[in-house]
């Protein structure tokens, strides 16, 4: 499935929810299905810099596709990173590098987009693209 198709799928899923509590409960549930990074990799090196909760991220290249694993000690960031992993995993480095994600805004989680919000999505996406960039060369 393309990145755009996966985004559309998520937008559709989130459209079912009327209020923010349902939306966040769903987000938290999604976090539980995140492919987890190995415990041994939960180190400084794999940490996405943010001051309030910790998010670790790792990526592997398998047959030309990038696969991400991640984890967080907090549930909301974990839910958010799980959405990103779902959208960007199993794609080629080229696709990942050039993609402009739009689903976050569409599902009403825009507040996480602020570049100054600690553990913002922005730094997660940046880190994921950096992995893709490294695999490209």
């Amino acid at each position: 499935m393309s990145i755009a198709a996966k985004e559309a799928e998520i937008v559709e899923e989130f459209e079912m929810f009327e209020d923010w509590t349902e939306k966040y409960e769903y987000l938290i549930d999604l976090g539980r299905a995140l492919p987890l990074i190995d415990e041994g990799l939960k180190t400084e090196e794999y940490l996405i810099k943010g001051c309030q909760s910790q998010v670790w991220l790792n990526a592997e290249l398998k047959e030309g596709k990038v696969f991400y694993k991640a984890d967080s000690d907090a549930q909301i960031p974990k839910g958010i990173v799980s959405l990103l992993v779902r959208v960007l995993s199993d794609e080629s480095p080229n696709e990942i590098v050039k993609t402009e994600l739009s689903f976050i805004d569409q599902i009403g989680l825009k507040e996480h987009l602020s570049p100054t919000r600690s553990n913002g999505l922005v730094s997660m996406v940046k880190q994921m693209k950096l992995y893709a960039l490294a695999f490209q060369s």
Partner: protein
Amino acid sequence: METIEEKAKQIFDVHAIRADFPILSATVNGKPLVYFDNGATSQKPKLVIDSIVNYYSNTNSNIHRGVHHLSQLATDAYEVARSKVSHFINAKSSSEIVFTKGTTEAINLVAQTWGRNYLKPGDEIVVTAMEHHANIVPWQMVCEQTGAVLKVIPMDLNGELILEEAEKIIGLRTRMLAMMHVSNALGTINPVEKVMEMARKVGALILLDGAQAVPHFKVDVQALDCDFYVFSSHKMFGPSGVGILYGKERILAEIPPYQGGGDMIKTVTFEKTTYNDAPFKFEAGTPNIEGGIALGAAIDYINEMNHDEVLNYENSLLHYGTEALLNIDGVRIIGQAVQKVPVISFSIDGLHPYDVGFILDKQGIAVRTGHHCAQPVMDFFKVPGTIRASFAFYNTIEEIDSMISAIHLAKKMLK
């Protein structure tokens, strides 16, 4: 028997006070704002906001320079504010009051003027285990520069200092006792008199970080008899970017200036410059003039209040909030000192403070989550951070109830 709620309502007309603070009627995420982050910064009464507008509308001019009318007005207003600060903490004179950017700068000033010039290798600076980073890092920096050593008075699991240990740590090599009057992360009101007594016996200087004290109770620097007392305007209903360094006149006269520039000098030639007297020798450059003046307005506002009533009311908020939180399964209060200001730091079993803070924010409730610039405190209690509700006299029992139901929802969502 009267409930705490009934008592709180009787002693204080909180709704009249709330009307003085425009921001308190704001909504956040469609809910009425509940502002429980007063430990980070307080909200400002209209009197303070108006004084800034008034300054720029009618007075704006540089101070201590011109002979012209506006410059005189601005200088007078700024110096009147200095004298209000002096009365507010009962200093002997206005010349003991140095305007700074805040508590942080005030501590750095003492570290880099007194510390850098007088500390020798092996000299000791004593702080406590609960300090804000602002009262740790400046001392570590001056230790690196001079070879002095930082010593730490430990605390116990209630968040109270262990005085027997303080006795052992404060000794003949102690040159400075730099400690917080009140803890921002735990709410503890420290028994400063007892610790200061130990420091005085060995001839050490004393700096008290009063950033979290002045917003809650009356401070008298002469009664305390400390050498330095520092605090920030923005935590006591004044504007940000202004803070105060109180220093005893004799000591301020002795220690060298901080930064060089205009206002801090008497005469300048390329061969030799002579410095102005305290407090001006510590105030290089154009200061935050409107900020100083508005701090004066904040002091006027506080002075209008009945301090006993405020104290009683804030205590009832503290007790009501503590009990209500403890009634929630899994809540652990970090900081259970006997003497506390209305600051409640807590964690909830199995939940990350960030998630809780986020879900509270969604419901219009502003609390602080994280390490509160006191990482050693978090390490001591073995938590990644806490959720902190810090109250001011304009908060209400109803707002605490809202927070409690918001926490129940957070618990349900985060399971």
